[in-house]
């Protein structure tokens, strides 16, 4: 009662900045535009978000409990079909495909090899500067790539997600390349990881010459 608008909005802002739930009082609607904007700004500060493992687990349980097992099959079919899989017989017996194995690493399936017209080898650094097992982003002119060193050899994949036109980032704790646009992940070799798979990342040509790493760019 009688709360000044600036105090009212700052109370909400402070809550958001402390990660608290939006708790609004009567009268806060007077500053509705400011409140909605404050929520968006608070979200932008945090950057792209993922569900916490605990919430994810809880949600799985709730979904399972909410519907009988047989309807899961229906949903699976719907989702599988929805995700571009041929579910059902084609020709003489291609059946629905399993989207995920038993949690094991997906087989390495190579993406397309990037072959730039008028490509040239671009020096991206000394081999010694690449930490084995850690993908590092490099630019070879217009070609962006994640280079991974394995002993004295190197491999490289495109730095752009194979599904959305977004630049990946390397999650060194998980050893995965992550697409910030939809949280899909790939191995350093470009194979898609997860419940259903995306096309593999394009392969970028890379070589080692006299202790220097060179990427075929343009």
């Amino acid at each position: 009662m009688g709360e000044r608008p600036e105090n009212r909005v700052d109370r909400i802002v402070s809550g958001l900045l402390h990660g608290r739930r939006l708790r609004l009082r009567g009268g806060d609607a007077e500053e509705k535009e400011a409140v909605v904007m404050a929520a968006r700004l608070a979200a932008a500060r945090q950057g792209p978000q993922r569900m916490s493992p605990a919430f994810r687990k809880r949600l799985v349980k709730q979904l399972e409990a909410a519907t009988p097992p047989e309807s899961w099959m229906t949903r699976r079919a719907a989702l599988v079909a929805g995700l571009g899989v041929v579910a059902g017989a084609v020709g003489g017996g291609l059946l629905g495909r399993a989207l995920e194995g038993s949690g094991s690493q997906p087989p390495a399936t190579a993406g397309h090899v990037v072959r730039p017209t008028n490509g040239r080898w671009v020096d991206v650094g000394a081999l010694a500067d690449f930490t084995p097992g850690q993908a590092r982003i490099v630019k070879a002119g217009a070609v962006g790539a994640f280079v991974t060193r394995d002993g004295d050899s190197v491999s490289a994949v495109s730095s752009i997600c194979s599904d959305l036109p977004c630049e990946l980032w390397w999650d060194s704790s998980q050893h995965t390349l992550v697409c910030p646009c939809h949280n899909r992940t790939f191995t350093a070799q470009g194979s898609s990881i997860g419940t259903y798979r995306l096309p593999s990342l394009d392969v970028v040509q890379v070589r080692v010459r006299d202790g220097r790493v060179e990427v075929l760019g343009v």
Partner: protein, 183 residues
């Protein structure tokens, strides 16, 4: 060769042609739905700015939408349906919390499903909104929201008082809410 276009939807790897594949167990199915819901969570979070509300709303979307997905729906439809449900749930959230009608929220909620990624798009959008503001307004919002400064710290930084910063913060938020971006 290299310019070959890719399908927009995920292409799962599978067994050899003709091989019979066992359908995954129920929990696996939930995983599939959950993957889709990750996107919804990020989308909702980008609108409400806090985890607790984002979790509640994502849960509502899941419980509403997942059981209604029909067999054979294409990927775009599945995603579209989830996003449509998310927008409706968000509309309900704001209208309950602030007494806003959904039409009043039209600009914020009814925008098309983000093309280049819900969360990236959102962060980029905020950056573009801030760019449209006057220097002082942009500064106060950047310090407060993006750098997490307290009011006192903002006041010191801007050589002002806490009271004045509070007022400026409110005006800056109002101004930011008025910014209309193309696309």
């Amino acid at each position: 060769m290299t310019s070959e276009s890719r399908p927009p939807d995920p292409v799962p790897e599978g067994p050899e042609q003709g091989q019979v594949v066992e359908l995954p167990a129920a929990s696996r199915v939930a995983d599939i739905a959950i993957d889709e819901l990750e996107m919804i969570y990020a989308f909702i979070y980008s609108r409400v700015g806090n985890r607790a509300d984002a979790e509640d709303l994502t849960q509502q979307v899941a419980m509403k939408a997942i059981p209604r997905l029909r067999q054979g729906a294409p990927a775009s439809a599945v995603r579209g349906y989830l996003f449509a449900t998310a927008r409706s749930v968000l509309g309900g959230f704001w209208s309950t919390r602030l007494g806003l009608s959904e039409s009043e929220l039209h600009d914020d909620l009814a925008m098309a499903m983000p093309q280049a990624g819900y969360s990236e798009e959102s962060v980029e959008r905020v950056r573009r909104i801030l760019e449209q503001l006057s220097d002082n307004y942009r500064r106060v919002l950047e310090l407060r929201f993006l750098h997490g400064y307290s009011l006192k710290e903002v006041a010191v930084e801007m050589r002002s008082t806490v009271g004045a910063v509070k007022v400026m913060q409110l005006r800056a938020l109002r101004a930011a809410a008025k910014v209309r971006l193309d696309g």
